[in-house]
């Protein structure tokens, strides 16, 4: 097992390296805003722009820039400075991370708490009224765009502009909040919005996974042993059916932490990693983009590793590969 982890970690590092290189290439290959000009301001002369280009190191060939970047990263954990604000990239990202983490973890708890039980109940009673209702609802939630859902939620429930039941804090409330509880309160609507589509997806996955599992031979054996149906479903059925969900969960959380919650963050104005990378891309702020991508890749790789280890813990057959 240790060798397995070691191999995965090494592969992860290699992947991080490849990610940085790819971002570098994309940034230079496709036309985007010129950071030196942006930095220089609207009436700057070409000479001024060149001077800034030089001070940012942008006039060096790509491979030199890349080499300097990697050197800084590996030796000093220094991700450079934002072209826009001159603030160190690590500071920017670490400042945004808690908001995203809070959003993601809360939403994950919510969607698991809702999606898994709904999936189980639907699987146990296939084609019942409950099952059919669930399937239609989940399809609707998966199809609804997140930002639409967010806007509708605000329109109905935000305490400042809500029309139906104005009880939850609205946009911008996360920044206003000072205490942990106030922040949590401001995230209630975002949690619901972000969790909605996922809960639906997980419910469906759980349902189909459990339906498949329940047709396995060992379920028949469990029943033949005289176990209660509840035990058969939960201990023998769900325990097996849930393992692919664990994989899905790891990937979901990893990508969300990497900035995939950007639409939810935008609609509710939560200052998270997703917003950061969006504005950085618009402003061609390469160091920030690079930094976020690396962080993101790190999270995804880490969570994949965690999930694989969890899988081995859950399924003894996997342990000896």
């Amino acid at each position: 097992m240790r060798r397995y982890i070691a191999r995965r970690v090494l592969w992860g590092v290699a992947l991080l390296f490849i990610c940085s290189a790819v971002i570098f290439v994309i940034f230079y290959a496709f036309p985007s805003a010129d950071p030196a000009t942006l930095r220089a301001g609207r009436a700057a002369t070409p000479e001024q722009i060149e001077r800034i280009r030089h001070s940012l190191g942008l006039d060096e060939p790509i491979y030199t820039q890349f080499w300097l970047y990697m050197k800084n990263l590996v030796l000093h954990f220094d991700l450079g400075f934002s072209y826009q604000s001159n603030v160190p990239v690590t500071t920017l990202i670490l400042d945004r991370l808690p908001a995203t983490a809070f959003l993601v973890v809360g939403a994950a708890i919510l969607w698991l708490a809702v999606g898994i039980p709904v999936g189980i109940v639907s699987a146990v009673r296939p084609r019942s009224l409950l099952d059919r209702t669930t399937m239609v609802t989940t399809l609707a939630l998966i199809s609804a765009p997140v930002f639409w859902l967010g806007l509708v939620a605000l329109y109905l429930f935000a305490d400042d502009v809500g029309q139906l039941l104005p009880i939850f804090p609205g946009i911008g409330s996360y920044i206003e909040a000072n205490t942990f509880l106030a922040k949590a309160e401001s995230l209630i609507l975002p949690w619901i919005v972000l969790a909605a589509a996922s809960a639906a997806i997980y419910a469906r996955y759980m349902r189909s996974s459990l339906i498949d599992t329940m047709s396995e031979d060992y379920i028949r054996t469990a029943r033949a042993k005289g176990l209660s149906e509840r035990r058969v479903v939960m201990r023998h059925g769900v325990r097996s059916a849930v393992t692919p969900i664990v994989t899905l969960l790891g990937l979901d959380i990893g990508t969300l932490l990497a900035g995939n919650a950007i639409l939810t963050e935008t609609v509710f104005n939560i200052p998270g990693v997703g917003r950061l990378v969006a504005t950085s891309i618009e402003r061609a702020d390469l160091p920030v983009i690079q930094g976020v991508v690396l962080f993101g890749a790190f999270f995804i790789i880490t969570f994949n590793l965690i999930v694989d280890i969890a899988y081995a813990y859950l399924d003894p057959r996997v342990r000896y590969e």
């Binding site: 396995e216 028949r220 054996t221 033949a224 042993k225 005289g226 176990l227 023998h236 003894p316 057959r317």
Partner: protein
């Protein structure tokens, strides 16, 4: 004295393609300590009939009729809770593929103790001790160490032994073994069968041995049922079935057994054709379309009856007279099914 008495069992499944008549007019009994073999090819209804005994085929689209009397109660009428007390306790069942029939995530020990603690109020430690004892009883070496192993860590034969151990955990009166050796190689097969025999002698339990292989029942069964297309076509004592078979299908099964008399390059005799679809079975005798001796009476369903006055326990479902049977069942000097010459009328 019958331990279990199945009377006129019918099991129909309502599928999207129509109603599948999986089990039709099945009646048999088994006494304490007896070994009953049930033989037939895939899809003949032998597994479904036996799973129905334990209520494992119940479902919203299943119709079950008939009676299954066990210790004075009709199992088919029992509610789920009552039935669960019988399952794994007084009647146990083991299945064909022990790798897929055991849960891959739990150790053998866990699965056995689960069976024990479902039906008895014992501590975990005691249940575990009993599990080790059971594993030893079925011939698993080093049971103390292996009790914590997972199913995939056992070899095929050991796995089946473990499965048997699990089934025996609560001293069942009846063990239903559904093709317990089909997935095993011949040597291991013999070991398992001998184990079952041995356990049966020691524990005095009845065994229903379901198989498609006549060779398996030859050594081990007291009585044999032959099933075809959902119905019992012949039942009797083991010697009666082997030496005085009364149904053409049985002749065909016997004829297809490999024999030392066959020359190396002879093809094994087979029964021509395929079993009928149970969605729309043929009218009358189900074997009619494959039987070379079918005649017009076969359009009526032959009842399962004793045809010889001095063997009341030997029944078959064929309209042919006893003399005709004795004559027609010999092909090339052995009992077998002759080739069909013309299509059925």
């Amino acid at each position: 004295m019958s331990l279990l008495e199945v009377s006129d069992l019918h099991v129909h499944f309502d599928t999207d393609d129509g109603v599948v008549q999986a089990v039709d007019q099945v009646s048999f009994g088994i006494a304490s300590g007896e070994t009953l073999g049930i033989v037939g090819e895939s899809g003949c209804g032998k597994s479904v009939a036996n799973m129905t005994i334990l209520g494992l085929t119940r479902g919203p689209r299943t119709t079950i009729a008939g009676r299954v009397m066990f210790e004075g109660a009709d199992l088919l009428q029992m509610g789920g809770e009552e039935l669960r007390q019988v399952r794994g306790n007084e009647i146990a069942m083991i299945f064909q593929d022990p790798l897929s029939s055991l849960h891959p995530f739990f150790s053998i020990g866990d699965q056995i103790t689960e069976s024990i603690r479902t039906h008895r109020d014992v501590s975990r430690a005691n249940a575990r001790a009993r599990a080790i004892e059971l594993l030893g009883m079925v011939g698993v070496p080093e049971p103390r160490r292996r009790v914590d192993d997972y199913p995939h860590e056992f070899s095929g034969g050991m796995r089946q032994r473990a499965m048997i151990a699990m089934a025996l955990a609560n001293d069942p009166k009846l063990l239903i073994a559904d093709e317990p050796t089909t997935a095993l190689d011949v040597t291991t097969q013999a070991q398992i069968l001998s184990l079952l025999q041995d356990l049966q002698d020691r524990l005095g339990m009845a065994v229903i041995l379901i198989t498609h292989d006549l060779g398996v029942v030859a050594e081990n069964a007291d009585r044999v049922l032959v099933m075809y297309a959902g119905r019992i076509v012949e039942d009797g004592a083991i010697d009666q079935i082997f030496y005085d078979p009364g149904h053409p299908y049985t002749w065909g099964l016997l004829g297809s057994l490999p024999s030392l008399d066959l020359h190396p390059h002879d093809r094994l005799p087979q029964i021509a054709g395929l079993p009928p679809s149970l969605l729309a079975p043929p009218q009358g005798c189900h074997f009619r379309e494959r039987c070379p001796h079918a005649f017009d009476r076969c359009l009526q369903v032959p009842p399962l009856e004793a045809r010889l006055p001095d063997s009341p326990a030997h029944r078959d479902r064929c309209w042919l007279s006893a003399e005709q049977k004795r004559e027609l069942r010999v092909a090339d000097g052995r009992i077998g099914l002759r080739e069909r010459k013309s299509p059925a009328s």
